[in-house]
Symmetry: C2
Amino acid sequence: MSDQRHKRLIALTRLITARPGDQLNLTDLSRRLNVAKSTLSEDLFLVKEALEDARLGEINSHVGAAGGVTFWPSIDAERLREGLQVFTAELTNADRLTPDGFLYVTDLLFSPDKIDGLGMLLGQRFRHLHVDYVATVETRGIPLALATSRALRVDVVLLRRDHRLSEGSSLSINYLSGSSRHVQSMSLARRALVRGGRVLFVDDFMQAGGTARAAQDLLGDFGAQVVGVGVLVATREPRHKLVEDYSAILEWNRADDGVGSVAPSDWVKRLVHWEELS
Amino acid sequence: MSDQRHKRLIALTRLITARPGDQLNLTDLSRRLNVAKSTLSEDLFLVKEALEDARLGEINSHVGAAGGVTFWPSIDAERLREGLQVFTAELTNADRLTPDGFLYVTDLLFSPDKIDGLGMLLGQRFRHLHVDYVATVETRGIPLALATSRALRVDVVLLRRDHRLSEGSSLSINYLSGSSRHVQSMSLARRALVRGGRVLFVDDFMQAGGTARAAQDLLGDFGAQVVGVGVLVATREPRHKLVEDYSAILEWNRADDGVGSVAPSDWVKRLVHWEELS
């Protein structure tokens, strides 16, 4: 029955794409769909070809006893362009300026609909680094860090602003933050399992880079290595940041009188085909 | 060509299921797949039938000018059972006890792989309330709140522990927290857009319910109404909590000497078919 094969392909497509980055076992899939492995192999080949032809993602096969398949979704460039347009417009919305000259953006940062795609962008940017963790410091960078960690299939290591009794003994570090204009601290529980790990640091905002630098130092004391830094927004000034290398999704060219302008960074423009914007 | 239809169905399945809860426009889909709307309708019918037969989710159709389809995924009971087993085992792992009697769980809470499914559980539990926002208080409940808000297709309102200069003027409330054993405060920016909204409060942990009660009061001052409370873990004692109604995923029966026992609540056991555990 052709209809039966249609239905099986539909169910298989959903099962494979529902858990991006997870390796799915062929034995489980054939049991779940109630088909022989040889039939499953033919179906998988078709699903792979169809998804790749439509540029919806890639399917990687793993051979051997623990054989299986993994789906990696493509970036949805059109949707990301729309999301970035919203962000650039909102970040230059003068209504968002507080009397003290800060930009109120917490509502934007805590919207999965707006942030999840940006996490996929950072995931794409840093996939080649094969990190073991994404680290962030509380609080506003947490949603972007989680979205990035989901795309990279790793967990988030949370750096706390204060030492919390509930986390047992911790290491702390004090540093000068450019954006809050005073001395800040961050701490990490000794129980946090980052020893020897490769870490991507993610935050919402970077000005001088003091926070990213402090995170690098603190994680270094745990024997972990920060191999990449990704932020949502970086200010153009100061040009020289306290970390050597970083990737910002958006660049903010601050004006003396008002908000100034915000635009995606060049690597983002390339990834989302920004020039196709009408 | 049968192969062509196969491939189209595979691409359509991915496009529809990639954005759970989003309404997808039929015109966009037919353009994207390069087929007539009549063909698309036939394909959609088959995809709907196949996904529903395999209990992978539901597709709702919307008629009219803004016509389209929305996919709502089913809960993956088997995977959730595995996840809940990990949590119950970890929460009673004596190695996680700090010298002060707290349980170190930050690493578990900040793992999308472990938390996302639990957010889908809370989403399923509270979908009928049709909330406008999920609210949480920083910091450890944030990943579960985000996962729940994603399942419900709404944003998160973040209650801060301190008033932050970067958020402009705020309202604050002080309350007695049972778990940290001292006076805590929480505050919300006046700019947060919750006025008149229906809110689900989500947190990682509930003992006496002081935090949930304070959130209820603070959000009430904004003209918002907390219509539901969901937490990852609630202690069995005290039986009487400071909020009238709440749903906990896990119940913790604390022992005087050590960690005690943790088990899923009855509503969770039903949803994930807990008794099917071998």
